[in-house]
Amino acid sequence: MDWPAWILAAAVRRMPDERGAWGAAMQAELAYIRQPLKRWQFVSGCVRVALFPPDPQGSRMNAWLKHWLSVFGPAAVLALVFAAPAAVEHGWDQPIRLGNLTVGILTGGWLIFAVIFTLIVYRRPTSEPQRMREGLMVFGAAALFGVLAVGPFAFMEVYNNPRIRSGEFAFPYGLFHGMWLFPTMLFLAATPIVRAVRAEESVLAHPISLALRIALLTLLAAGWLFMLWDQMPCFLGGVPGCD
């Protein structure tokens, strides 16, 4: 029995109708491969494609997401950087109340940068935004990842601390700004490794760079975990007078 052909046929039967031609294409291609090892290698890849074929809606969704990430993500990052001096001026150890100068600068900066990035993306020649968007998209995705990683703890901080909700204590913006930096930088540092793995390139091609990157990732992950461990009692609301 021709097991590779049988397995591929079984996987192809699960493909949606609009991708049926591609299933038949992979089956036809297999018929021309003679060496058993290469047949198995070819089938292993094709089965993955047959079981998880690219979704036309998904690709449009990705394009849409990439576009907006490339515009608003970097804007958010730069606005945070823009707001940092104001936060430092105010004092990192002093919580910042909603409606004060830093929050105003943060929001205003974000809007200004969003407009600037939108104009840059649309006004550059056709070939440039492709490369630029890729870079900006990673930047934006890192910022979003940072927000998602910090968001639940910010929610816990507010939810478990009635004094913040009542306005007696202010939200510790400085702490969360710092906490946001760790996962964002972690994402940016890990991106080249993930890209190399996805492109099926050898991650060991540049061993020194890889070692340094892993050291940085370890440092960032350790810093992030330490900060969480240190602040977790405050997020859970069980410690009065958190610092």
Partner: protein, 95 residues
């Protein structure tokens, strides 16, 4: 993949041939081909005139849009791809 397809834009290529040329595995190559076809960068057809007992292969080549995009992405050299091919003898008029 774009570079491989753009090397001979008029010629039809099949999947395993592209796997070997690009060094990509089928699990990587076919999603790329599918997405290129979705965007009308890739033209597909089925092989004709094949010997009995074997199924016709699916063939691929870049559309005009795909070739234009490949040029914009910088994967197509300014000169014709034939200029880069190894020739055993110089052309007439070349020293």
């Amino acid at each position: 993949v774009l570079r491989s397809l753009a090397e001979d834009p008029t010629g039809w290529r099949h999947g395993y041939d592209l796997c070997q040329q690009t060094g990509l595995k089928a699990g990587t190559l076919y999603p790329i081909l599918i997405r290129l076809a979705d965007r009308n960068w890739l033209e597909t057809t089925w092989e004709t005139g094949i010997s009995a007992g074997r199924p016709p292969r699916h063939l691929y080549r870049l559309t005009a849009t795909g070739l234009e995009q490949a040029r914009e992405a910088g994967v197509v050299k300014a000169r014709s791809s034939k200029a880069g091919r190894l020739r055993l003898r110089p052309r007439m008029g070349e020293s």
